[in-house]
Symmetry: D2
Subunit: 284 residues, 4 copies
């Protein structure tokens, strides 16, 4: 028996769980973990299921084909995943290394079931980290004038690396709408504030000016509207009047990397669905 | 259609979800929320399901009878519940009122779907709270000599009140094994430490002596082994060298009531199963 | 020896601590607790000191007079306080009772060294709580048309009660600039969001719409700019896609009351100074 | 003007702050930050002071000598520190790298004002991390038979490196009383439980068996009594019935490194005093 994951979203109606569970049982499979949620406002049904099936007929395209009658009947959006195959994940980074290192370390500790085929940066600063983890490092500097060409080069590298997830680990460039339209896979970003507070530049400076007593970090999907994409995870940490901007930056570092790595873990363990600008994050 | 909850535990085997979901569909019902967990060590299956069924045949005894063939076939322990019927819950308390008030307030705010038919105390101290909430208050003082008789009186009051849950809201008497054997329903206690640290008397004094930097509270089912019952919820709060025992008591108060009310909410929304000295607490 | 507290703010310069500590020693006093902070940007000095002095000459006006040469020499703003005298604190509230009850309960538990001479509300809803705690309750209903007159009546009640602190415990009326200009003492409000996120009305609805993964509460001084006053304390709590607006309200309740009571405790134990739109909150 | 720190502990008596602050003022210095605490039970006085003095006469031995009359008069234990001189800190580690990496990364980010002259391990596993950070790595394997000799070799390396702090970053060997008696500087350890819960071996297994709903980590000074030394910092993280031992280990990793790095930061910024088996940790 081999493990597979199924993600489903569709209009809610009676019998969905029975139908899906019956389909698994009919193939000689068994469900190990099933979590479902219905959004009461929109009457929309979301399901994540970890199940085992006999290895013959367990290929993702076979499963997808054989499940397709249900897709048609129930207007489902479905995705079969193989949890034993690591996600190919590119990391984009500028000069700050803490999120990058946390992701690479989590990968080595097997907390993240991913392969990182490439680290791309607009600076040389973090090259030694890529070297240490023996990951190809691509330096693609950018200026306001060269941004379109640089984004084209980034896209080429991503396609060459055949990634299905891009993580912006404190990549300090705003990606263009054109880039996002062409990238073809989810892009997860970390913003160093408790969104929607302190959007845009220098959120720790903004937080210091306002005199907040907690700072935050937010991992979200990048969309064309800056800092407005669906939120995957957030975390806060206490600060006081004794903390200057430099202290907020220091305390925030630990917060950012935790939130980003946690959000990436949710994504690469196939727990995240998006719906009308929000996320469903199935519990681990 | 009316709402019902089913709780199941049994040995794990293929097809359980499909069988249960199919049974619901076969009755013209629909599953609103299904959460299942399999304990990998013991290969034991746990499920909580919120579902709707047509009102005819929705009585709990009817459902139980009609589900019984599955119980036999799969060695299940099952329990059907009606989420629209408030749990009858007794509160036992001594002199500290903070947990009692939090439970009563949560009840009034409809955060706890319960009815409190009786508050029992070995002191008169908290009578005014019972009066305010218009709940019968029974004063049953106790001394070491009169303990067996007092426990007998408490049991009589509980039976008269027909409760299906007892909450010890800082009730400072250790219940005898005989009492627990005869009480006939779950008993939830709150211990003012992060169990298993600081079992027994005066945990805040113990915590102060040890110089911990966090204190805790633990809600657990009372069993014959003091402070050893299955843990339902825990929470911690930071303390410092500036905090004396009185400060730990003050900070702990807020912690205790939060943990206890949260654990009671889990229980009365039918989310808690016990298994081999631990709990499964299905997410809300 | 009797206990006194001194709060100082002034431009930073060498020798301030020595001067102040020397002044105490020169009067035969002793410092029990001294905490100071210098804001590095503005080079401003803040100090809180708990000290004992002989009872003769310990009256606040005597201390103030005798300390006045230092005030002149160092451009100080100072305030002597008597920690053994409870603060007279009015509570304004609308229909939600959770913050009110938490404040009253904390007062009874002696966590808050205050006297509450009056509870004022624009509704009758919470009268029974005031009755239970034997506190005068004043019902002053308000409509858009009668707002100026109602605010006048509130001011009269506050003056009659001779309060030195006003707490808005979910008082759902925006106080006018005129009211705030005439009230003559600090006003602490709780806003049910993590400010500056979700200012204004219905923050839980806003939070639900945005799909945040944590909600917050903020206690701050009320100023003429709505939700823009100096922040005293904040706290957050996790939420998920399973939480509807009603769940945010429920989880938020516990958060709001904790934050508000904590902020009030800071204020009434003489730990809060404001400076350029922010607070210094000396640690307990 | 140059920065210095003074740490004082002594029996409490009137005028201590005035005397100390006056001494600074008398040398033409200025206090930037002063925090003091009096333990009410033992009537013991603790003070940390950051101050500036003219560079002439600012050498630590000069300050110590000139302060010595006060030491004699008030039975003080004092220590002058130079915050601009990084602490020389050795790291002992076994196979787990997460605490080591966090410490080294925090050092590079200048969150820890330290120099790490040596990393010592009983395994080769983490050598590449030392190489990356260009820190000498010493491999000193140990067996039960060779433990005394190995500890001797470790002591030699530590003396050669002239360290004033030793951090056990998941060093899985129990240090002998003889080692601790001879080491001559503080030793900070991290234990992967919420002490005093789950002392000794395999705390995550113990936590799993007990069914706790939170796990913890504790940074403490190593003493001859295993897991009984003064606690510097603790932190907890939520777990659920879905978490197996491997999940506790994963969640605990992040917790351990945070607690250890935070405790080390407190120590190397000269904020920690010990007193009767506990710590005073002055706030940052």
């Amino acid at each position: 028996m081999v493990r597979r994951i199924l993600l489903v979203s569709c209009p809610d109606r009676p019998g969905l769980v029975a139908t899906i569970a019956g389909w698994v049982a009919g193939r000689g499979g068994n469900i190990l973990d099933l979590d479902h949620h219905t959004d009461v406002e929109s009457r929309w049904f979301f399901l994540r299921m970890l199940f085992v099936v006999p290895p013959e007929g367990a290929a993702l395209d076979v499963l997808t084909t054989e499940f397709s009658p249900l897709v048609g009947a129930f207007e489902m959006t479905v995705s079969f995943r193989d949890p034993t195959v690591p996600i190919r994940m590119a990391i984009l980074v500028s000069k700050y290394d803490h999120c990058l290192v946390d992701l690479l370390l989590a990968t080595r500790h097997e907390d993240l079931p991913v392969t990182v085929p490439v680290v791309i940066s607009n600076h040389e600063t973090v090259r030694s980290w890529a070297d240490l983890f023996q990951i190809p490092f691509v330096h693609l500097p950018v200026t306001p004038d060269t941004k379109p060409q640089q984004e084209g080069s980034v896209l080429e590298e991503l396609q060459r690396a055949r990634v299905s997830l891009i993580v912006l680990a404190r990549y300090m460039q705003v990606l263009s709408g054109d880039f996002l339209a062409r990238v073809g896979c989810p892009v997860i970003n970390v913003h160093h504030s408790f969104l929607p507070a302190f959007v845009g530049a220098k959120p720790y400076h903004q937080a210091f000016e306002r005199g907040v007593k907690m700072i935050g970090a937010t991992a979200h999907f990048a969309t064309t509207e800056l800092d407005e994409g669906p939120i995957i995870d957030q975390e806060t940490v206490r600060v006081s009047h004794r903390d200057g901007v430099a202290d907020l930056v220091r305390k925030g570092r630990d917060n950012e990397r935790q939130v980003l790595t946690r959000a990436v873990r949710a994504q690469v363990t196939h727990r995240v669905l998006t719906w009308r600008g929000k996320t469903i994050v199935f519990d681990e």
